[in-house]
Amino acid sequence: MKRRDFIKRTGAVSTLALAGGLVLPSMIAKKQKHITILHTNDTHSHIEPFSANHSRNPNRGGVARRATLIQQIRQENSNTLLLDAGDIFQGTPYFNYFGGELEFKLMSMLKYDVATIGNHDFDNSIEGLYKQLPNAKFDFVSANYDFKNTVLDTHVKPYKIMVKEGVKIGIFGLGIELEGLVNKKMYKETGYLDPIEITQDITDQLKNKEKCDLIICLSHLGYYYKSNPNKISDLNLAKATKNIDLIIGGHTHTFLPKPTIVKNSDGKNTLINQVGAYGLNLGRIDFYFDEANEKSTKSTTILV
């Protein structure tokens, strides 16, 4: 039964309920909901801030500061999700010495919800990543890495659905092609599937079967490759697919001053954001929903 028909046929019931002194219309009336998405990418084991005499990023970054900022935002809006787009590992001796243990423990303390896997997360081989999973109290998603014949089998799901204040959020992951980028002895039998085909399948499932209100892609494909414009990238993915509301990117260490708006294959807006690297920035996207009886055809205002 269609929603509209359902309302019509129960109209009489509503009237009865009102007569009984219950305030039903207030439930039907619009209620605004607010979901905040916070995100990082390519933090590359940068636990501490850059030193004061660093040439490019003096006194910037640091997980302890990121924690404070996230805490403040969570106090503003408890309907907040914290996501990461991969390359958590590699870049400081913390990784060489402790193998990613501290990175995962800190991300767990910051209450990350979901992350995807970057190429450098295989730097201690797929077993090295597997070994650190008990330290991660958050989930990993990847839709186009096939881990069936590896130790990560069943430990990484294609997507995760989270519900915040009745808003259903589908989050799926995409990884970059590992061949030629990572030594095969590191990623072993990890299979690589076409990101566009997978995205079409997954977003169809999230949108039409799971009825998600918001679809987020955690991508480690890279923002765009100027010298290789046809290579799959976040910009190309957004244009070639539909149903994605937000792509949180990584890999290319692109410091976007603000999110990019791209028209998808349906002519609808998709947002792409990436916050460079090393935990120098935190990305913040706020989604506001009006609860209504029917799907509105009204457009969405985007302020970036």
Partner: protein, 248 residues
């Protein structure tokens, strides 16, 4: 309609489960993490023991450089790239010689693999970790003349200053080139031994000419360990842009 039916429908409506969520507004911004944000004590406390274990080891001074060593591309060379290519062959050749009774002809790495500069002054162990954070192993590939031509073509075509050791004497004139290796003109009927990393050997950075070599010798020597050993050996790092690559 029975009362139970009425109740079910009523509860359905009240529970509001099936209402649509209409996305009306999106805002986005990227927030800098800087000194205006206080560090969380809880997180700092968690980091502390790990940090203490690291700091002692990492701050050990190993050598000194009078100038900044960087990846700055000057005619397809960089002073840091030259240093790394030269020091690796110097440190790895004795290992290879012992294993095979032959010498390495030259070394080649990728500029993307150099992950940090070496600022002038004291060079610590930490710096070696920053320059070479990866656990890459040094390997020696024996290449046919054909694969050698592919290697040089790759270098001639790219804009990047991929590190080549001083054994190379390459003059590039547009797409044409002349090449000497250890003072002798390149001979495509000969085979050559090239020092690189396991990462590049397996096709990293699309250096596919390393992929199926005539012979592959694993040295069991990590590139970072090689750098650290060299830093311990010399008082002062000496390197420069020189004539190994000439652009006409």
């Amino acid at each position: 309609m029975k009362f139970t039916h009425f109740l079910c429908l009523f509860l359905l409506l009240v529970s509001c489960k099936k209402t649509e969520q209409n996305l009306t507004k999106i805002t986005g911004k990227n927030i800098a993490i800087d000194t205006t944000i206080a560090a969380s004590e809880e997180i700092s406390k968690m980091i502390k023991p790990y940090k203490e274990e690291l700091t002692g080891d990492m701050q050990e001074p190993l050598t000194f450089t009078p100038i900044d060593l960087t990846k700055e591309n000057k005619g397809k060379q960089s002073n840091l790239g030259n240093l790394l290519a030269d020091l690796c062959i110097e440190m790895a050749n004795p290992v290879f010689l012992e294993k095979t009774k032959t010498n390495i002809d030259f070394s080649m790495f990728n500029s993307g693999g150099i992950r940090a500069i070496i600022p002038k002054g004291v060079v610590t162990r930490e710096r070696a970790f920053k320059v070479m954070p990866f656990e890459n192993e040094l390997v020696v590939v024996t290449l046919s003349g054909d694969k050698m031509q592919e290697l040089i073509q790759y270098f001639v075509k790219t804009k990047a200053a991929h590190p080549l050791s001083k054994n190379i004497d390459l003059t590039i004139n547009k797409d044409d080139y002349t090449l000497k290796i250890n003072g002798k003109p390149f001979d495509k009927n000969k085979t050559y031994t090239v020092l690189t990393t396991d990462y590049l050997q397996s096709g990293g950075d699309r250096m596919n000419f390393f992929k199926n070599p005539l012979k592959l010798t694993v040295l069991d020597y990590k590139m970072r360990d090689c750098i650290i050993d060299y830093f311990k050996k010399v008082d002062t790092l000496k390197t420069a842009i020189d004539n190994r690559i000439k652009l006409k």
